[in-house]
Symmetry: C2
């Protein structure tokens, strides 16, 4: 006897994409806030930095590499890299063997920044692990499924 005739019942709170989006936003904001206020770094910048720091072993890292690895549009990567370069955290050099590629690498200042940032991230990860507690492994297993399933 409601006035919604053909509309199926649907509960947003039980809708996995929605739950996931809200949880992701919550965690991202919590962490992003920390490095935004302390270092003026945005999320795209953070992702670029982390990837560069990971690749410090020194595989050449191009914008395209990061785009693929880090799930961000190339224009986003490009702009983040430009801001980071302006602030002296990374430098861009043209790859000699293929001059279309821009090789990105951390400067000393960038490495110093990461030495401060990464412990924050590690601590945050531990908080999350504590929060998830015994649900952690199941949660991560599900996440793996969602991330690896192609398409």
């Amino acid at each position: 006897m409601t006035e919604t005739p053909h509309v199926p019942d649907f509960d947003l709170d039980g809708f996995t994409p929605y739950r996931l989006a809200v949880a992701a936003q919550k965690l991202s904001e919590q962490l992003a806030k920390q490095y935004r206020v302390k270092f003026g770094i945005s999320i795209p910048e953070w992702r670029v930095l982390v990837h560069l720091s990971r690749a410090a072993g020194n595989v050449a890292v191009s914008v395209r590499d990061i785009e693929a690895r880090v799930a961000m549009e190339k224009s986003k990567v490009s702009r983040a890299a430009s801001r980071l370069e302006e602030n002296g955290y990374i430098k861009k050099t043209v790859n000699d063997t293929d001059r279309r590629l821009v090789h990105l690498s951390l400067t000393d200042k960038g490495r110093a920044l990461m030495a401060e940032l990464l412990p924050l991230a590690i601590a945050f990860q531990q908080e999350i692990a504590a929060q998830l507690d015994e649900t952690m492994s199941g949660f991560e297993a599900g996440l793996d499924r969602l991330l690896n399933e192609d398409e």
Copy 2:
């Protein structure tokens, strides 16, 4: 013997906030694409619609209610609602007892839209459930933890 002295090891792929963000983006885009191309509806608009459709039992729903329930800024809600009104999916009426409040409700056209949209969402949820399979309950349990933990 690497050239990164004080920088801790850190693997972005093992970082839960990152994994969560990527998974959320992936799922959201998959679904959003469907109703964007078919109906020209954006994610914020979708969320408003779903909430209105849920509340169809007819609790008065204001912008503020949706802001709180749906994890979106009020300006985002407000603009989504305006677009929906322009397109005839919802109507806004001033609440008589408190004239600051704007009461949002689905029009017939809006209900007809939801009758088409919701089955898509339900089917998508089933796909996800199939993908998660036996990891589903563990995954959702973890998600609950992350969503409910206050601050």
